[in-house]
């Protein structure tokens, strides 16, 4: 067994107790909340018989361990039960929503790279210059705007005032998705761009001083080629790694709390 396979196997095995722990704690937590789910669903004026009937239907009248093992048993076979809200299987709801989520994240990633790389290059060309200050200033401002605020502003500007993009929806077909998902992806991307720009800029400045860049210049390579082939190429992996690995999770949390503890480039965490 090679190293990678062993690593993956170890991680999968170690995830099992964590999963059991998480499901156990969350099941118990739900039962700590006072009240009866059937009564909550049916309302105050439902009769006791109605509540008892729904209790039985939902299976919440069984003892706690039985309920938990029933859940584990179903989950192991890929069945996560039925959503009370929609009456559909939870699995089918996840499958239905997954493409939209993947589209959103992928599209946002593409937009953020398209925006970040030129901006970072612009800023790193002359550190301390007006372009550098402008890019960094705008980055700090953008960092302070949560995606939901950016989203509403973008909708107002590009969907309501100028009807360029639809304000909501997923659209049909690839073209429809590209059009409909542009605004949500852009607002999500805007929260990631400042981080990528700042870390990429810092990394480019570091690589700029490296010996191989000096040699490239000494060989008489044009500045453009030096920047793209020698500086950007070497700065991209470390410069984008922390931002990209952290960003989807952080964006999902609506960028309410920004923690950059895992980020190796401290300069990007200001």
């Amino acid at each position: 067994m090679n190293g990678l396979a062993r690593f993956v196997l170890r991680r999968v095995i170690s995830a099992v107790p964590v999963l059991i722990g998480v499901t156990l704690v969350s099941s118990l937590l739900i039962h700590l909340v006072p009240g009866d789910p059937a009564r909550t669903l049916l309302g105050l004026k439902a009769s006791a018989a109605q509540v008892a009937h729904l209790d039985q239907q939902l299976g919440v009248n069984k003892p706690l361990p039985v309920q938990y093992f029933h859940f584990l048993e179903s989950a192991a076979t890929g069945s996560f039960g039925t959503s009370i809200l929609s009456g559909r299987s939870v699995g089918s709801l996840i499958v239905q929503r997954l493409p939209v989520t993947v589209w959103l994240l992928g599209y946002a990633l593409v937009i953020s790279i398209v925006l970040s790389v030129p901006l970072a290059m612009l800023a790193a060309t002359r550190p301390g210059g007006i372009r550098d200050h402008s890019v960094r200033g705008v980055s700090i401002l953008a960092l302070g705007v949560p995606p939901f605020v950016a989203g509403i502003l973008l909708i107002q500007l590009l969907a309501v005032d100028h009807r360029v993009f639809p304000p909501a929806g997923f659209g049909t077909g690839v073209g429809g998705h590209i059009e409909s998902m542009f605004l949500p992806s852009l607002s999500l991307a805007l929260s990631g761009v400042p981080l990528i720009v700042r870390s990429l800029r810092a990394e480019m400045l570091r690589v700029k001083e490296a010996d191989h860049v000096t040699i490239a210049r000494a060989k008489g390579l044009p500045e453009r080629a030096v920047r793209i082939r020698h500086i950007l190429r070497n700065a991209l992996p470390p410069g984008t790694r922390c931002s990209l690995s952290d960003w989807p999770v952080r964006s999902a949390r609506q960028s309410s709390s920004r923690t950059c503890s895992r980020c190796p480039v401290s300069a990007t965490c200001s």
Binding site: V33, G35, P37, L42, L44, S47, Q96, I152, R163, P167
Partner: protein, 517 residues
Amino acid sequence: MTYQSKTVGRALLSGAALALCTGLAACGGTASGGTTHSGGTLTIGQVASPDTLDAPNSQSAEAAQVLSLITDTLYQLNPADGGQTLVPGLATGYSLSNGNRTWTFHLRHGVRFSDGQPMTSTDVKFSLLNAKKGAAQGPVDGAIATVTTPDPYDVSITTTRPDAALLSTVSYYSNGVIPHNFAGETANAFWKRPIGTGPFAFANWDYGVSLTLTRNRHYWQSGLPHLSSVVFKPVAEDASRIAGLRAGTLDAIESPPLSEVPALKQDAGVQIMVVPGAQDDSLYINASSGPLSNLTVRRAISLAINRRQIAQGLLFGVGLPASAPLPLNEPLFGPRPAVTQTDTARAKQLLASTPYAHGFSMTLITAAGNALASSIGQVLQQELAPLHIRLTVAPTDQSAAIADLQKGSYQAMFVPDTSGQIDPDVEAVVTSQNEPAELKATLNFPQMSKLALQAEQEFDKITRERLYERYLQLYVQQYDPIPVIYEPQVVAVSNRVKNFRFVQGGYVLTAATVSGR
């Protein structure tokens, strides 16, 4: 006694009670004018997707809205008066016999389902008996004992005892008429693509994305509907629904936030339709012990509440000050009493005559997440301070709050309440039967309960109205619950749409048209 909750109070404590409750309420509005022309797609932005289209098992307001376009009922709410009365639907009339226990409905001839099959009494019988079996809405039909079909165009419903509310019951959306035996399908398969005699036929449902209905070519009102299709889209975010309306991707949106209504009213392209009093928000009081068991104390609290200020300040003038703990869409309750005028001096005087002249502390439970309830709680805190009543607002998880109410472990609770039908029977009898024991302990309860049962069996409209008026008086006089405000149901419709109407439980779109964007 089989009367059950029906839809009343299903979401009693929820901030989104209207969104969850199956009643849109009476009144409503109409956008009319312009020339009538066929075609066009009307897109409506809903707060959520329907839970299911299986009518007897559905619980959401969205399901009721969609199903009321697909199926028709024997009688229906009159769109002309905003749903204040019932008018013939699939039935042309009815006759009573057997000591008012048997209702024979005479069916309209020439009615076809959207699959082209003719509708007869066998279909009506099947529909009613199937609806009665429904877990969620079945209790609505608790009074129905047997259904027989004397001939293809007559259907006789016999009730367990005389029930004056049956006409309202058969008008309820869960009693919409579907083909006998689910047109040969299984129940499950049928409700995935339900068939009815309504103006629109089910076309497609991409769950969470859109639900499309198309014109029913066999609709019994010839030449109608005008629209070629109606599309429902779930848009949970308030801001996105409003943006969709303004951007023209949605033609109508339900429940815009009340804070946005004044701005929308200014918008030239948008018409606002308000159903006043679709929901009443009241303070449920635990009158079993402590200062609040004293009627004079409850009256003093009621006098200290400035309802107009709350309606104006917190509901942006779209809400109304409440004078009774009942929604406004039940015309038989008669005119509501006048709104209690705020009189803090008199409230102080009253309180001084009780052993609580120096005040007391009380806790008001609100549903966590119901922002309006919390804001009202804060206003009440200030308004009760001059009476030396120290009010603490305790936002509580909804299921915990319901449990508290059931157990009677609360002092005061903010409870929103809506009603799914216009007949007060549901509200009155249900209040008598299924209220928590501690609510039943109130002063006037035995008398109210008697009146409710009497009114249920009274077929003379005027006598019935009097009984309900008396019921209402008793309810109001006990100051438990203390009414605070009526919350409206609001729909914002683009000016492109003409003849858009809505009544309790759904939209009436038979005459609606939409012009190009």
